[in-house]
Symmetry: C3
Subunit: 231 residues, 3 copies
């Protein structure tokens, strides 16, 4: 293990082999950390958290000269609340907050300025982009992609392999960047495609494989390409 | 290296740097293990297996309070048969069986209660959910998602980025969980979407990007959204 | 650290914990290497490169007996040019070239015989198959899949979760393997599906969720399944 002398480790903490804990990390009580994990400066872990193997916490943003979104220099900490369970091979960025009781499966990656509400589930390999809000008791299944600047309210269900985008003009430098808004309790079928700036109403349902090009009212069911009301 | 004194290692085994081998692991003869691999308790490796770098074998299931599928406490071992080749960054769960001569590419993840038949190929980043049966000489290409409770027979071909689901009511608590059945020799084009409980007949073909909402008879070709017989 | 005595390390190089550097590796000046990285034989890193954590450079190809594409024995080196930024959990194969100023995000995987042009961006989890050419100032967003034998010209934009294929007959042993050709400045929407051998003309636009079954002329906009000219 390589644990910095200024890291603060609680009582009853279990740490696997070849773990790196950098300067200033704060770890609560009864946390379990798997083998080969890397916990970087700027990470705060509360109590009773379970972390798998080969997890990276506190990743920093960077960019090359072509990139539109420049990383903020003042991201704040990565804060992970009590009773969270984190799988293996996960990467979480500095500047986000994971609420209590959340489940993050293997290979999940969450960028900066994201908040995940309590008791939500994020499936394996799901990728969450920056500046996104995810409510409580949300399910995002395996391999789904949540674009930047997105709002997902409580109790939303997103099936596997869904895709979203936030830039109508595809990097032309026109318009704003705005992802979808998915209202409380809406359900999105597997491999659905959501376009930028649309709103999916409360309890609405999007069928598997649908391509949603405009907003869907509450309670309604839309399917097809382009998605139309199911009749 | 961190190798438990009760692990059983065969002859001619090559082990990379920073490898962790936990208590009770059984490794056959002439196995090659890359750097940074983690082999957890409850793993049995037969002879002549090649394993890349940063591989996790014997991952355990877990869940949070929202999750419907609770992990079984009696999963059995992860058994990997002779001549299997495993890429890098792979995660395989305890309680599954990988048959002889299988190729698992980088970033593949296979959950518990899965059987992969002999000489099959699973492409990079493919995710296989629990309680799923995959036949022999099957190809699953890069990034495809195999949902839980699925049956894939021998010689099936699944192109890249395909998606499936197993829950018609999307976590409403209604109905059963049942993935597709894909019969012998069927072919599924890239980025196709398969709905729950459908059957793809023997030697049937699903076009790229098709959304399959009902079963397809043997030998037929279906394309479009929703998928219809190609005429 | 485990650094082979015949590796050649430049001045001002920073190396994290538990890094493995194999025989014959050449590393330029002012390179930063994160924790747990593995740099295998046959890798050449130029100056001012930044590499995240748990990165594998110089991965080798392999195959099982079912696989059509047998790995070449003479792949050459993996060459990474100046000012490249590489995220975490990335895997790059031996026999490819990454040009100056490229940004490769977390979980990117690039196979052998690929060239990535200068200042291009490849998003998280994107998978690039062998024998593929990617131009300069290209953007490939998160989770997109670039099949083998593909040509992507300069300034192309590929949204998130796009999919391509290169084998019209899906492993039947008929025909050739040929991916799409995407001409200069074309834009592909998220979760679009491209079939083998098609050409997307200069500055053409493919809508989100479109399924492109035939070539698209320059400047035109195609949407739907199958994709048709937007009118």
């Amino acid at each position: 293990m390589s644990i910095h002398k200024n890291a603060k480790i609680g009582k009853g903490v279990s740490i696997g082999s070849y773990v790196v804990i950098e300067e200033g990390v704060i770890i609560g009580d009864y946390v379990t950390i798997g083998h080969h994990c890397i916990i970087k400066s700027g990470v705060v872990l509360k109590d009773h958290i379970i972390i798998g193997d080969m997890v990276i916490l506190g990743q920093r943003t960077s960019s090359n000269k072509k990139m539109a979104r420049k990383p903020s220099k003042h991201l704040g900490e990565l804060i992970i609340e009590e009773d969270t369970i984190i799988g293996s091979q996960v990467t979480l960025y500095k500047g986000s907050k994971i609420s209590e009781g959340v489940f993050l499966a293997d290979y999940v990656s969450i960028r900066e300025q994201v908040e995940v509400g309590s008791h939500s589930i994020i499936g394996r390999q799901a990728m969450i982009e920056p500046n996104t809000s995810i409510g409580s008791y949300v399910t995002i299944q395996t391999g789904s992609y949540i674009t930047a600047d997105t709002i997902i309210e409580d109790e939303v269900f997103i099936g596997p392999c869904c895709s979203m985008s936030n830039d109508k003009y595809m990097a032309s430098g026109k318009g704003i960047h705005k992802g979808p808004i998915i209202r409380k309790g809406a359900k999105i079928g597997n491999n659905a495609t959501l376009l930028p700036e649309i709103e999916i109403g409360e309890q609405a349902v999007v069928g598997a494989g649908a391509v949603v090009t405009k907003s869907i009212p509450a309670q309604e069911v839309f399917v097809g390409n382009p998605a139309r009301k199911l009749v």
